[in-house]
């Protein structure tokens, strides 16, 4: 079974960690630039030094983009992109100093890579993090040994390898431990959540009274029961009672049909298109997440024309028009993340004042 990731189990945690990804990414790039300037005397190829920094920037940008709440959970492809991109930056950094690198401890490559990969702990599972960190550490150690000809510190080759590999190995192991601990806690919480879930909601007098007032039962208690009571009391069927009973029966049956076919989603949105009655198949969590999103769209975002389309193939689309001039991305991100954590897949999209959420059950 594939190990679940912290982001899959707690989508809001993914949003929390995004700020750290951005900050760590900026810190890594600034460190790379500053250390390149400070150690400029060791650079033999400026174009390669610039390329190394650009690759690091591209890797950080791709990482930050992939952590957006409006995108699918950060996948294995992005995981390898972050590790691969960082390794390429380290390689280019080493090549830019090839033959002129005198001191391995002032190379920014391993430090920047360690900073970037630590924040992957919130998004990927521990076996991938640990495996990638070990492979990367071996690659960095090999690279340090390969360029040892120009290094001036009089120590065995193994020390160069350890100096280069330790930051990435320590960071990767830490990220893996972080991920494993969070997944363990979140899995236990989910199991507890499932165990405590009532199979059917409680039946209360207040709820029944509420239902009676709002459904066909209001008609039943107001019209039908008094009619039957009067007949039982009199003990006789009058001339007009037969047609009246037929009319009441037809009316009651029609109201019951309407009640039976009414969907919770009809009350939620302005326009529901659900020919296959898929709304009835949504889980309580799925319904709750959509309710919260729609309530937010109507309230804080002044949303209108909210439309929900559910297709027989299990796909759905929620669209809304938002107030012009508002910038709802940050506010909507947690809601979209929650939807994404509960549905099989979900992603959000903005075009002008329109917001679209696509999801699959």
């Amino acid at each position: 079974m594939t190990e679940r990731t912290p982001q899959e189990l707690d989508p809001l945690g993914g949003i929390t960690a995004r700020l750290v990804v951005i900050a760590a990414g900026i810190f890594a790039v600034v460190a790379a630039v500053v250390m390149s300037i400070v150690g400029a005397s060791q650079i033999s190829s400026v174009p390669l030094a610039i390329a190394a920094i650009l690759v690091l920037v591209a890797t950080v940008v791709a990482f930050v983009r992939a952590t957006s709440a409006f995108r699918p959970p950060l996948g294995l492809g992005t995981h390898f992109l972050v590790f691969g991109g960082s390794l390429l930056a380290v390689l280019l950094n080493a090549l830019s100093q090839w033959g002129t690198n005198t001191y391995v401890r002032d190379d920014w490559g391993p430090v920047a890579m360690a900073i970037v990969i630590f924040s992957l702990g919130s998004y990927r599972a521990w076996p991938e993090l640990l495996g990638s960190a070990v492979v990367s550490a071996v690659a960095l150690a090999a690279l340090a040994i390969a360029e040892s000809g120009s290094l001036t510190t009089p120590v065995p080759l193994g020390v160069y390898a350890l100096a280069a590999a330790t930051p990435v190995l320590a960071s990767g192991v830490a990220a893996a431990a972080f991920s494993a601990t969070l997944v363990e806690i979140l899995t236990a919480w989910r199991a507890e959540l499932g165990a405590g879930k009532p199979t059917t909601p409680a039946r209360t007098t207040a709820v029944l009274a509420d239902a009676a007032a709002l459904s066909h039962l209001g008609y039943l208690h107001g019209e039908v029961i008094p009619f039957l009571e009067s007949i039982a009391e009199v003990g006789e069927v009058g001339e007009r009672d037969g047609p009246r009973a037929r009319a009441l029966s037809a009316e009651l049956r029609a109201l019951m049909v309407l009640d039976a076919e009414q969907s919770w989603a009809e009350e939620l949105v302005d326009d529901l298109d659900d020919p296959a009655h898929l709304a009835a198949r949504l889980s309580p969590g799925q319904r709750g997440s959509l309710r919260a999103l729609v309530a937010h769209l109507r309230g804080a975002e002044s949303g209108r024309d909210i439309r929900l389309v559910l297709r027989a193939d299990g796909s759905g689309t929620l669209t809304a028009r938002l107030a012009p001039g508002s910038n709802p991305r940050v506010r909507l991100a947690p809601f979209v993340a929650v939807v994404r954590g509960i549905f099989a897949s979900a992603d959000g999209d903005f075009s002008g004042t329109g917001f679209t959420l696509r999801f699959t059950l």
Binding site: G121, F178, I231
Partner: protein, 388 residues
């Protein structure tokens, strides 16, 4: 029930995860230090540098105590802090005694333990709130190295590696709180939506139960009145109308269903059908002692009553068979007739008997309904419910 990880748990769980991650970060750094010493000792005069190993092991032992600490024990935290810092002083003294005079204070053998102690300070943040542990550990470890470097006459250098790691940790811990407040501000709205949904679901269920009951009782009584010639109503019909109204108002189980044994649950339904003139034969494990929840027994009795009512009203045959099959965790009741049958897709939308009074009612108590029907051959309805 909310599907959002509560903020209160998110704070403690992130702290625990961060503490565990920091612990392993430090362990890797100390392991690398151990290996570096192993690699360079052969090139040093004598083997005195091995004296650094016990100091490293004591640092690891202190960190293990911190990571395994379940609650704040100030005395123990203080003891671990003293142990870590004395070990660092011992280690630094040993290493510097054997290093060349020109080795700067930020060399690999000194910077790795400084980073490790800084990370162990983060591990302590699980029991010491905030960044206090991390800041103290970094400052004191770095201070020990600088003081020792001055004492031994080594060049004092700014430790870029350890300081970078320290700033990244401070930045991360500082941002986590702020980002968490931002991302989790929606928690009350999600909880509210869940409550609204739960209430709606309860209302829906209540409606469907009431609707099924109305179908079983009131619509039948209206049909009786609608088809009778004007004139006196027999006492039996009057009693049935009164019973139906009472049943609906009280939302009570059907009279005669005691809600526990199968026989009790079905007896009223079968009696009701027989009193309407339907001939009902019984088959299977009627005498079996099985237990049902009250709700399940009531739903089963009412659903079977509706099935038998359907046979009487639509099957064009005056007889039906009721068969009971008990398994380990389920009970199946089949209502079989050899009447006219029907095509399910052609049943009008307004015919709620099978949909509400049988299928939905049984599904609401966790059961299933299967239907086999062929025009001209007959109909079989199989109702399976979970045992208590």
């Amino acid at each position: 029930m909310s599907q959002v990880f509560p903020t209160s748990l998110a704070v403690t769980s992130t702290n625990s995860a961060f503490a565990r991650g920091s612990f392993w970060f430090g362990i890797v750094c100390l392991s690398a230090t151990f290996l570096v010493i192993l690699l360079i000792v052969p090139s040093l005069p004598g083997t005195g540098a091995y004296a650094a190993f016990p100091a490293l092991l004591l640092m690891v032992a202190g960190a293990v105590v911190l990571v395994r600490m379940r609650r704040r024990v100030p005395v123990l935290i203080g003891a671990v802090a003293v142990l870590e810092l004395l070990s660092m002083a011992w280690y630094t003294h040993t290493v510097m005694s054997y290093q060349e005079q020109d080795a700067p204070s930020d060399n690999l053998l000194l910077t790795l333990p400084v980073i490790a102690l800084t990370m162990f300070g983060v591990t302590a943040s699980r029991v010491i709130r905030g960044l206090v542990g991390c800041v103290i550990a970094y400052a004191v470890a770095q201070g020990i190295v600088v003081v020792a470097a001055v004492g031994f006459g080594h060049p004092v250098a700014f430790d870029v590696g350890a300081t970078s790691i320290f700033f990244v940790i401070v930045l991360t811990l500082g941002l986590l709180g702020r980002a968490r407040r931002m991302a989790r501000s929606i928690e009350p709205q999600i909880l509210r939506a869940d409550e609204v949904d739960s209430a709606a679901l309860t209302r829906e269920l209540a409606e469907s139960r009431a609707s099924a009951l109305v179908h079983d009782t009131i619509l039948n009584e209206l049909a009786v009145v609608a088809t009778r010639e004007p004139g006196p109503l027999p006492k039996r019909a009057r009693d049935r109308i009164a019973a139906s109204i009472a049943e609906l108002r009280e939302d009570a189980p059907v009279a005669g269903v005691e809600g526990r044994a199968v026989d009790g649950a079905l007896a009223a339904a079968i009696e009701h059908a027989r009193s309407s003139g339907l001939e009902v034969t019984l088959a299977g494990q009627f005498g079996t002692e099985v237990l049902l929840d009250d709700d399940t027994a009531t739903a089963l009795g009412l659903a079977v009553r509706q099935c038998l009512g359907n046979v009487a009203a639509h099957a064009g045959t005056g007889s039906a068979e009721v068969a009971v099959i008990a398994a380990d965790s389920t009970l199946t009741v089949m209502v079989i007739d050899s009447g006219v049958g029907f095509i399910e897709e052609q049943v009008g939308r307004d015919r709620l008997g099978l949909r509400n009074s049988v299928r939905r009612r049984i599904e609401d108590v966790g059961g299933t309904v299967q239907l086999w029907t062929t025009p001209g051959v007959g109909t079989s309805v199989s109702i399976t419910v979970p045992l208590r």
